[in-house]
Symmetry: C2
Subunit: 698 residues, 2 copies
Amino acid sequence: MPEDLSRLLSPRSVAVVGASSRPGSVAGEILRNIVRCDYHGVIYPVNPKYETVEGLPCYASVAALPDEVDLAVLAINKDLVLPVVEQCGEMGIVNLVIITAGFKESGKEGIEREERLCDLIARYSLNVVGPNCMGIINSAPAVSLNASFSRWFPKSGEIAFVSQSGSLGETVLEFFEGMYLGVSQFVNLGNRAGLSENDFLTHLATDDQIRLIFLYLESLADPVAFRQLVERIAHTKPVVVLKAGRTEAGQAAVASHTGSLATSDVIVDAFLTQSGAIRVSSIREALTVLGAAKWGAIPNGRRTVIMTNAGGAGIITADACEHVGIEVPLLPFAAKEKLASFLPPEAGLGNPIDMIATAGSSDYERTLRVSLSAADSAIVIFRPPLVLKESPEAVAEGILRVAKENPDKPVLVCTLSHSSNMSAFKKRLQEEKIPVYTMPETAVDALASLCRVGDLQRGRRLPDRVSDIAIDRGRAKRVIEAVQQEGRSSLTFAEGAEVLSAYGIEVCSFAYVRDVQEALVFAREARFPLVAKIDAPGLFHRFELGAVLTGIANEEQLRRAVCRLEELVVSQGLRSGRILLQPTLSGRELILGMERDPSFGPVLMFGIGGTLVEALKDVSFGVAPLSIDQAERMIRSIRAFPLLEAFRGQPSVDIGALADTLHRLGEMSLDLAMIAEIDLNPFIAGEQSAAVDILIKL
Amino acid sequence: MPEDLSRLLSPRSVAVVGASSRPGSVAGEILRNIVRCDYHGVIYPVNPKYETVEGLPCYASVAALPDEVDLAVLAINKDLVLPVVEQCGEMGIVNLVIITAGFKESGKEGIEREERLCDLIARYSLNVVGPNCMGIINSAPAVSLNASFSRWFPKSGEIAFVSQSGSLGETVLEFFEGMYLGVSQFVNLGNRAGLSENDFLTHLATDDQIRLIFLYLESLADPVAFRQLVERIAHTKPVVVLKAGRTEAGQAAVASHTGSLATSDVIVDAFLTQSGAIRVSSIREALTVLGAAKWGAIPNGRRTVIMTNAGGAGIITADACEHVGIEVPLLPFAAKEKLASFLPPEAGLGNPIDMIATAGSSDYERTLRVSLSAADSAIVIFRPPLVLKESPEAVAEGILRVAKENPDKPVLVCTLSHSSNMSAFKKRLQEEKIPVYTMPETAVDALASLCRVGDLQRGRRLPDRVSDIAIDRGRAKRVIEAVQQEGRSSLTFAEGAEVLSAYGIEVCSFAYVRDVQEALVFAREARFPLVAKIDAPGLFHRFELGAVLTGIANEEQLRRAVCRLEELVVSQGLRSGRILLQPTLSGRELILGMERDPSFGPVLMFGIGGTLVEALKDVSFGVAPLSIDQAERMIRSIRAFPLLEAFRGQPSVDIGALADTLHRLGEMSLDLAMIAEIDLNPFIAGEQSAAVDILIKL
């Protein structure tokens, strides 16, 4: 377990091992960065070849250092790394940043080298960033350290940025600079031999200086731990994740029926959403989200008012809102009346409110006040007019007065212009944490991301609903263990039904029958039409085999069905095959499933059964543990969801009950790790909801 | 009909009516703009109040002008506009730009004023831009005229920009400036009392200086003319359209069954695509498309290779490609072998090709050559490395050599940096018309828009397929006229069947029967199961009424069905109701429909029948005339299209035949303007394809 990371990120002294004045030397570049950024602590260059580097006394080895050192940065030949790490361990230097490449990213020899490094990390309880990384940065004024070869040393601010990639990290730092986004802490994880994103999340959770966390990841070091951390952090600090590698991820898609509809990236999406992270899919989107979230107000809903002094821009903005799901509702009559009392008669009192080109500061102030009384946020377009009757700053002051009266309602301003006339206007608003955009679409994207943050934070305020009906874990476990002891890898229908029942999941009534006589007995209790099928472990494609007979309407048909299945059992050599009878349930035909993802664990799938799933791939995914609310969101997210609501005379499916079932399936998958795959296809949701077919593989 | 617009856009002399030196005067602003931009022609200020304005002799009235004037710009009190226009007409000044507002945009009085203006335009055959506009600009060096109050006078270039909105237009001009996009001609249409976008399209079609046309429109002045023009122009000059007003447009959605699934914006989308325009939905997207298309190469397909010296950026780029439908295929073995012969062993030879940070100009040149041999385009990421072994310009030269060898394959370069180190690199590439982007996502968006241009231009090379089977227009027309003479507003099934047959559209066989005896006769020819329904003009919801009985399996059931329908005819008082019998066709259940949009004319609808259409609103639209290819694209664009392909034992639907039917329905709708609405629901596509139910309203 890594120790506390405060000293790693805020060291009082740093040794740069490998430091030299040679141009092009990475260690030299790092040393120069540390000197250049006005680091507040003590710097020790370490290199046996030099007496001094950059005017600082240079030490021959880590062992020769005169004092305790909080952090050592290693940028040396790969063959020297392990001995130096060992020396550090012996010297009690526990915080290391290993820049050097040539580890697990580079073939067999490198993999072995990294394994030995891991041994050293464990032996000396080291906090190691890297290897194969760019380094770390802490630009907080009290530290001011650029222990990396990044050419950009960010302004300090409330963002922490943890990046798996170095070059991408440096790129984003450069863009942050252009966007006035302050980043106090930057960590490039590299190979993650020691510390991973999770260790830094743990640390950042308690760092009061950090209000926003941005992660660039190509893979997750430990998804389960990640989720627990993000669930805890995200309700106070938005965690924005740029998870790259969709294409690659697709290749890892699992191959079986349920899985063949999934791509891993869909699972990553479900996982990040459930965790409470805000996933972005491009650098531009990341910058927009971070830029919007760095300041205050998170809206309570998706209703916005657009006010403008330029008609066309208002329409474009309304279009953009519709595109991202932000509502642009009409104003209530009273609000319109109020606006009409001061805006000129040519003004448009719809939404967008077109205040026309003559609008001044008082129009902006009063219109914004009316707008915010009717909505959760406002987008204010102030295009510098041809004739400025007053200074743009006066307009800014008007906007600010209303924004201050409404601290929980974001106001986003849009200028449609880079013009230098507007710089004082922008500056004034930004000082007071009102974001200003040039393009209306960017303002809308920003508002949309604030809405996402709001949705997440509101969701977090309520405890996740979970089922309170008792689950009989022991009973389910005993069934599975018995199957394992028989050396089978799949359950019979009856066994599956018992496991499901132990978890409170309804199963359609059924009976095994040995002959026509027994079948007729069952038919007297259940009503026609009946379903007859062969149940045999390992018989997974019985429909294709003709081993499922539906719509059996009377005794004569039942007789024939049983005979046909009996013949099939013989002709197909299904020695353990038994004939199973069920009544016909009516309702919507659904598919519920579970597969185990190698890194995310149990992945639940939901879809509407029949041809739709196959043709439209219209299914949704969730990662266990899956709360009832998460399950409900999962159910609602399929495109065909309207088919589950009251429709053509059929009543609505009980979504709550269905969500509860998915939740229970998730619990079952977590409890019973021996289960590899579950397929309830169909699961009928109607007056009676129940699994009609059950496939459980171990 | 407006005259040739050359003199309007390239006048040898301009009169500015209303010109004054008074600060804040719009006419004064325009005059100053004309003076400031070094206009090559003669300028005549016109204002009875002044002797000189801006140092130029000022004339008391249009009548007092000493010479012929090619263009008059009117920025005067709205009450003076009509007399001055009349004066211009009398003086033979035919080209006018009317800046003044207070016309149809401002109430009853303004509407009347605009009507009188239209009369004058007609009387004197005037070319009028506006009223209520910002003016026009021609920045071509031979003219250099800013006859507008726009604060931005664009650099001349190959783009023409026609904007319905003035403020939006000025905004976009400012952004063009920031993007080095040259605009030779800018026109703000304003109210379009005289000239519309179509007149300028007609002119621009023949202007060899213009290679790209950009339109900002909130509505189309004349969609039919627009389509004919764009169809003609777009295969040589991309026409990019930012059509705003989605939300407003939605309100105009038609109310009937078919229409209720449509929003007008979906129709606009279909219309613009069919026309061959490139629709964009934001200013940012417009800038990206124009920026990409302003230079040369249009790709022949969607396969690209990404090459990078920074791994993470390559992954982000691949993700972005997948997102917009650009293929990132693996390289063939031979290409990989070639790359392995010169790239270092740490390089990644997938796609993206990760050349790692050490890659130099020769690596870029050779890798790009291999890449372009295997794909239609390349995205080249060159992030300035920490250690520059050679100048970035050397890398640029390497890229340029290969780009010149492949003039038909676009190469898009991405730097991931604003760094000034890269300005010579960028400049060198841009000089040779290789676009350079900072963000990889922008480069990908640009490539995607180039692919759209390519798709359109390739599509245009082939003549649109239309049906060659004879159509009997006269026969269809006679049926409709007979119905009209009877004063009915809807057709019986038999009448509808005749109209469809006249257009070569198959109809399911049917017979009217007066009693059970006749029904039994029909049953002997057609096979059971049968369908029986009541056919009565004006009975539109017969399914809900129980007036459609399906699955009639034998004579007994037929007897009962006929009796039941007979009773229904009586009980519902359907005096003209007749009983209609049909065989049951098997196949996919589809919906084909037509409604008439007030501005776009006949709009065709296609969808899969049954619950899917209602619940998922999964339908597509096309605007007549609809070629067979356009109809096929329309069919393929529904989400549920996979259900029409070979599926669960059913053979694929004959898409070509179905497209032909939609095409014929379009022709019928154009020929027979009396038809308001057509609904073929269901249309069965199977072994035999035919309309099973027919609703035609007049």
